[in-house]
């Protein structure tokens, strides 16, 4: 770990829904330009963690530092200004189905920054090229695309504003292994090209191995292990071992309720 201020830093983050404690004090640091993958079973609060970081959900307790600033102490407008610098790839792609592909990619430019449709269209074509799609795709509706293509478009949308931080929520879930590998490769490529700091959450171990510099495991609302991606098979941590090897027996019990 370097001595420089981490790009993203989380301290004692807690979040409950009713009586269910989902995050019970998460501590996490991600250095600038590093790619951290958070693994963990379904319902362990991985998505909740990202939503708190994005400012879409208010945590009950804890601190979130982005670029050294505690965003929870900022005014709503200031906080939005910072969280909006984060690019996010949603699990289900979350493309706007009422808009065409190019309008999706240029959404931020047109509606967030008031740029002209022409500028947005050009930027969309560039971003499509970056994810390996011809610009003709821009004129299609999201519903006309396959799941893998939708993921690519969603990635193009997430990188359109050249974000310095990128989040990926289950980027390969629901994709066939070949398409999943294409997405993994694109993620690595784009994160490198942007020099971005990345946090991904997944339970796909092959994806985690490919895109991570470091891996952290979230279990019952806490980080139970963290280490370099190469050490994941010799972690010496029973939770990680059970998860990585996909065994039903072990210290991890299936979560009863979804989050």
């Amino acid at each position: 770990m370097t001595t420089a201020t981490p790009k993203i830093s989380v301290r004692g983050l807690k979040k409950s829904f009713g009586r269910k404690e989902v995050l019970r004090g998460v501590d996490l640091d991600v250095d600038e330009g590093a790619s951290l993958v958070v693994i963990g079973g379904s319902g362990t609060g991985k998505s909740v963690l990202l939503k708190c970081l994005l400012g879409l959900m208010a945590p009950d307790a804890g601190e979130i530092f982005i670029g050294g600033v505690n965003i929870l102490k900022l005014s709503a407008t200031e906080r939005q200004k910072r969280t909006r610098e984060i690019g996010m790839l949603f699990q289900g792609s979350a493309l706007f189905d009422s808009l065409k592909v190019w309008e999706n990619i240029g959404f931020r430019l047109i509606y967030g920054e008031g740029k002209s449709g022409h500028t947005a269209r050009e930027r969309a074509a560039d971003c499509l090229a970056l994810v390996g799609l011809p610009k003709e795709v821009g004129d299609l509706a999201p519903s006309e695309l396959s799941g893998g293509m939708q993921k690519r478009v969603a990635l193009a949308r997430a990188i359109a504003a050249n974000p310095k931080i990128l989040f990926f929520d289950e980027p390969t879930t629901g994709l066939d292994p070949i398409t999943a590998d294409v997405i993994n490769r694109l993620i690595i490529e784009r994160v490198k090209a942007l020099g971005a700091t990345a946090i991904s959450i997944t339970h796909d171990m092959s994806s985690a191995r490919r895109i991570a510099d470091e891996i952290a495991m979230l279990h019952e609302g806490r980080i139970v292990w963290r280490g370099a991606a190469g050490k994941i098979d010799n972690s010496g941590n029973p939770y990680v071992d059970q998860f990585v090897n996909g065994r039903a027996e072990g210290p991890i019990k299936m979560a009863l309720r979804a989050v």
């Binding site: 994005l54 493309l95 189905d97 504003a161």
Partner: protein
């Protein structure tokens, strides 16, 4: 369970819901003030709510006017007041039935439509995605719908008033033996501008309530297809109740009793 505690819990829950809805409504109604104002979204909503509602509202109005004419004729014949049919019919329509029926039909069409659309966007993360793309969902999704519905409903009601009175005219002239021109002249001399404007003010309030309910339940929906279905149902029920309750309050204010 302690019955007093149960009543208390229900009351607190209800008040909390009304409070949340009021905050939502105010945020939605005024989010556009600080800009940007999404004109295209506003116009799309206005056409969808205003123009596309006209056929169903027109049909409702013509049959309501026609049935009302028969009822008024039959009822007032008991004290030999049939000749007042045009006056009674027109005041009933512009003050009460035009706004009421039009609002209920728009509630069935648009409130449910908004709840379903926003609900589907919510459960597929599209609303969260919008926030991450530096666009405030209240400015892009909620404000245009609330403004469009509030502004369009008076126009819809104006059309409903005319068609409703026309429905009554058809029955009066072709079934009840009234003379067409006299019928219109009677209405013209009797009806005041206040009668019509009170109905249009009601329409604006109804439009506001319909869109707030539709947007609120859609925006807050959770839990997949079932959640969206529930949001749609709640939006329609809540709009209908809000329309009828606010109608009574406004009517009592207008007539001053």
């Amino acid at each position: 369970m302690n019955p007093v505690a149960a009543v208390g819990r229900i009351s607190i829950g209800l008040l909390a819901e009304i409070g949340a809805m009021s905050i939502f409504a105010m945020r939605g109604a005024f989010a556009w003030v600080s800009g940007p104002f999404y004109t295209r979204e506003f116009l799309t909503a206005a056409i969808r709510i205003g123009f596309n509602s006209l056929p169903v509202v027109g049909l409702t109005a013509i049959f309501t006017g026609a049935a009302l004419a028969l009822n008024i004729y039959d009822g007032s014949a008991r004290f030999n007041a049939e000749s007042f049919l045009p006056q009674i019919l027109s005041v009933s329509i512009v003050r009460e039935l035009g706004p009421g029926f039009a609002a209920l039909m728009v509630a069935g069409r648009s409130s449910s439509g908004m709840a379903a659309e926003l609900g589907a966007m919510r459960v597929s993360d599209q609303i969260d995605a919008m926030s991450t793309l530096a666009v405030d969902p209240f400015k892009y999704l909620i404000s245009p719908r609330i403004l469009a519905t509030t502004l369009m409903l008076p126009f819809i009601v104006l059309v409903a008033d005319v068609i409703g009175i026309l429905g009554g005219w058809f029955v009066a002239v072709f079934a009840l033996g009234f003379e067409g021109a006299t019928y219109i002249r009677n209405i013209d001399q009797f009806l005041t501008a206040d009668d019509v404007t009170s109905g249009l003010i009601k329409a604006g309030v109804f439009g506001f309530l319909i869109s707030v309910m539709g947007c609120y339940y859609g925006y807050k929906s959770r839990g997949g297809a079932q959640g969206v279905g529930g949001a749609t149902r709640s939006a329609v029920v809540a709009s209908a109740v809000a329309i009828l309750a606010s109608n009574y309050i406004m009517t009592s204010l207008f007539v001053g009793i």
